[in-house]
């Protein structure tokens, strides 16, 4: 199988992560700096604001894209690191499949959280 498409999507996922996770981190962790610039987001980890985001379709789509991008980029990166350890092709096949299954499982579970609450 050709490796190029995997790596091309990893770069595209990186660009998506750069902007979306960047936004997420600014909102979640840099509240004081944001309010200094006049954008008060309230307490982002309070139960009410968490629920507010979870009930919004926009935020759910946002989290869905972030999840897919980060899981793909991260798990492919992990697989690339493992692939440099000179494991046998059979072991690599097992690891590749395991990472795909685990990744899809985590994606489904994590997306279920904002949808169900």
């Amino acid at each position: 199988m050709r490796e190029v498409p995997l790596r091309l999507w990893q770069l595209i996922a990186a660009a998506v992560i750069f902007f979306l996770v960047g936004t997420h981190l600014i909102i979640m962790h840099l509240g004081d700096i944001l309010s200094f610039f006049g954008a008060d987001m309230g307490e982002p980890t309070a139960w009410s604001s968490v629920m507010e985001r979870a009930s919004s379709a926009w935020w759910t789509v946002f989290y869905g894209i972030v999840l897919a991008a980060v899981l793909y980029h991260g798990f492919l990166g992990l697989r690339n690191v493992i692939s440099e350890l000179s494991l046998s092709p059979a072991a690599m096949r097992v690891i590749n499949r395991a990472l795909i299954v685990v990744g899809i499982g985590i994606f489904a579970f994590a997306l279920y959280i904002p949808i169900s609450t």
């Binding site: 050709r2 190029v4 091309l8 690339n80 692939s83 350890l85």
Partner: protein, 282 residues
């Protein structure tokens, strides 16, 4: 001799800590210390030759040309892969040197690495010109046209002497035994970037697996240690660009044509009288 020593300040002795390993006798490599006279302008290879001639004739290392052409004497000198013949002791600035065989290769004996894996990988990327016109390749009628600009776009990568210093420096080669390594990937680009070649697709499929061009993470250590200024890191990024371009529908280039036959000829210079011609001999 003593005068030279005085010119160097107080330094007149050189200490080489050399890693020894004899597969017939030793279970594991060990370090052995040699003290020898220091002479101005001395290279590390001079030191090793002195040891072999005067102290311990059983010390094994590979060296041939003594001038950075053959690439046989690459070794790990003070934790940096370099050519022993190309490394004056004064350039390092220390007079106690630690010399080990190149890492990321197997050890044959003492300082001799087994570089056969590198040559196998080098062969696997098809490092030769490939063209559609097989007839012209086998029975050439004239040279292929190449402009100086086209030459310069790959010339730097053609200076590789296959010493293995880049592979020893590469962090991916430290674990990835399958990884093609900076040497082979650079040679893959050297031919992909050659205007006379038009089958880079075959080479690209050879470097596309995960152990090919994707194993490079641009640590740049290979370019730092290359004794010939080949810059493998640059070549691998350019190769990667070609791989991406090809996957996005990039076309193979039209290879440079065969040079036109010369029109008209200059007047021949007369053969000097003292030259023995074909007729005289028969």
């Amino acid at each position: 001799m003593s005068n030279n020593g005085e010119n160097q300040g107080s330094v007149s002795k050189l200490t080489l800590k050399v890693q020894r390993y004899n597969p017939d006798r030793d279970k594991a490599p060990y370090m052995q210390e040699f003290t020898l006279p220091f002479r101005k302008g001395m290279t590390v290879l001079d030191g090793l030759l002195y040891i072999r001639e005067n102290i311990d004739s059983s010390l094994a290392f590979r060296a041939s040309c003594r001038m950075g052409i053959c690439g046989a004497c690459a070794m790990l000198i003070n934790n940096l892969p370099r050519l022993a013949c190309h490394t004056p002791v004064e350039e390092i600035g220390e007079f106690t040197l630690e010399i080990k065989p190149l890492p990321n290769f197997a050890i044959v004996k003492d300082l001799v690495p087994d570089t056969s894996s590198m040559f196998e990988k080098h062969a696997s990327v098809k490092p030769y010109l490939m063209r559609d016109d097989q007839e012209e390749m086998e029975h050439p009628t004239a040279e292929f046209v190449q402009s100086p600009d086209e030459l310069e776009s790959y010339l730097q990568f053609a200076y590789c002497i296959k010493c293995g210093a880049c592979v020893a420096a590469c962090p991916t080669s430290a674990t990835g035994k399958l990884y093609l390594g900076p040497q082979a990937l650079t040679q893959a680009y050297r031919y992909c970037g050659d205007s006379r070649d038009n089958k880079s697709g075959e080479r690209i499929s050879a470097v596309d697996p995960y152990y090919g061009v994707w194993g490079c993470h641009f640590a740049g250590a290979c370019s730092q240690v290359c004794p010939k200024g080949v810059d493998p890191a640059l070549a691998i990024q350019l190769l990667r660009r070609k791989v991406f371009a090809q996957s996005l529908g990039g076309k193979e280039r039209t290879p440079s044509p065969v040079a036109a036959p010369p029109t008209g000829s200059k007047e021949k210079i007369p053969v000097p009288e003292f030259t023995v011609t074909q007729d005289d001999r028969s």
